[in-house]
Point group: C2
Chain length 313, copies 2
């Protein structure tokens, strides 16, 4: 993350750099939640990706950040850099983006187009009830660690494609058309103690919650809900993709212990699997345990999206 | 501009696509003004540009959009795509951006970094008193057309550099370190009838005011305030650069006739030349007149920044 030296604290900004979104005071009742995310061709998606999927995903990754804050989407701005004027590409790209925008009740308010290597930056705005935004800082020892959906599907699809194997349609859809968990995020307000969306892999993203809350976590690997196709693979591969793979855009959050009934209700109303995968502990660090109680070590904890990235952030 | 089909009107968005910024309702007293602009290496600036100047300009072009709406800057988000992790480059880039951010009282609230071809997208947020934002739609026949500073300096510097000639320091500064006219924008609230910032050239940008206000304009070319270095060149070259050059980031605005004394006051308080260059007329179209009353035809009315752009917007 770029750090600009500031003369003083960021006033009027109740949550700044380091969470999924910035939270800005706008009225006595509400705060504005703002985030920005870029997709670069060849880095965040392979060159052969359909423009419709690119349009969907560019918006989805930003909506996922809003979801992780418990925000209600309102508007977005689109900064689109294209190598050439290609109306067919643009039509398909717009359709993919517009379909998701309608579903999420968010509207395009403005933007900018430039000529250059294909890249899409979206800035999404949303609102949240004052002081209610889901942050990364509130996890306490004893809290349950919960994850939505089946992490690992997207990175399993990507790995299959890179190996020349056609992935399962549901895994490919998870990679190309992630569904931002907006309804779940709203359902967690006033109840979950922390939340993050999974873009860089469960281990890395949960790690942000742990660091920023000053706690640790113990995860039961056999509790991880697994995509069917991946369940047939070795435990090693499965755990690696589920913990260190990325592009999941599921939510990982913590709730007070004894909240199982509330979880079941929300799971049912959102039509989305919510699985308790572990517990927050006092001792800092992330411990991954196998069914036999052995500690499993990840060989890498961060996800490199499509291409290798230098560590710029 | 990308158009996403919408089921209904953009509600809560009082000004949408087609002005410098989107204007969103946030409280009974204020509106939120939001804009996004991308700079791409090799398109918006030559490869040899100093990172400090890139950092400055990436923020400046967005602040210029806020200025054109009469907004008070509050926060910005930075989406930075870099080809490699280069701490020296990043330090200089950040310094250039931070200096302008301090001057403009705007603070970095968040962002995103990616690996890829160098490109910078900034989203700037500001506020304006409700219903007061300066738009492109209010110019009326009889209004005066006014421009700040000396348009043409930036494009003259760029042309010189492309011809291997060292530009005057003041012209190079205009190209690399444009000063967003925020104070002027604020001074025009409740008084100017329309406003735009000059990024694509005076003819093209004033053209947006004319189109969106449903009027025309007559410009007296000999009234155009000219950079000293450019005044020595032929009228043809001078007028071409001043009307069709770009990257000026000055404001062009219209005010009711008979406002000369108010213009002089604001010019003095902003420390900035404000020059009346023509008049709004009923007949649509832009007419450029020489001192002898002849009509001057521009060979091209739009600016291509650094590199050739396809018409994507």
């Amino acid at each position: 993350m770029i750090c600009l030296p500031a003369d003083d604290e960021v006033s009027g900004c109740s949550v700044g750099i380091g969470d999924d979104c910035a939270v800005l005071e706008i009225s006595p009742q509400h705060e504005l939640v703002v985030c920005t995310d870029t997709l670069v061709e060849g880095v965040h998606f392979p060159q052969e990706t359909l423009p419709e999927a690119i349009g969907h995903k560019a918006l989805a990754v930003n909506l996922s950040d809003l979801a992780a804050m418990g925000a209600q989407p309102t508007f977005f701005l689109l900064a689109l850099t294209l190598p050439a004027d290609d109306p067919v590409w643009l039509e398909s790209f717009s359709q993919g983006m517009a379909r998701l925008a309608r579903q999420a009740h968010i509207q395009l308010a403005g933007g900018d187009t430039s000529c250059g290597p294909l890249s899409i930056t979206i800035t999404a705005l949303g609102t949240v009830e004052k002081g209610q935004a889901l942050l990364r800082t509130g996890a306490s020892p004893g809290d349950l660690v919960v994850v939505s959906g089946t992490p690992g599907a997207a990175s399993w699809a990507l790995q299959s494609m890179q190996n020349g194997v056609q992935p399962e349609p549901s895994d490919k859809a998870a990679l190309e058309y992630p569904e931002p968990r907006l309804r779940l995020g709203r359902s967690l307000l006033g109840w979950a103690t922390s939340c993050i969306d999974l873009s860089d892999g469960l281990a890395a993203d949960l790690g942000h919650i742990l660091d920023q809350s000053g706690v640790g976590a113990e995860i039961e690997l056999n509790h991880l809900p697994c995509p069917q196709s991946l369940a047939k693979q070795s435990d090693e591969l499965r755990w690696h993709l589920q913990m260190a793979g990325g592009d999941d855009y599921e939510l990982c959050f913590t709730v007070p212990a004894g909240a199982a009934s509330q979880l079941a209700e929300i799971s049912s109303s959102c039509g989305l699997a919510l699985t308790t995968i572990g517990t927050i502990v006092q001792q800092p660090g992330l411990v991954l345990k196998t069914q036999e109680g052995k500690v499993f070590e990840l060989t890498s904890s961060g996800y490199q999206h499509f291409a290798d990235l230098e560590n710029l952030s």
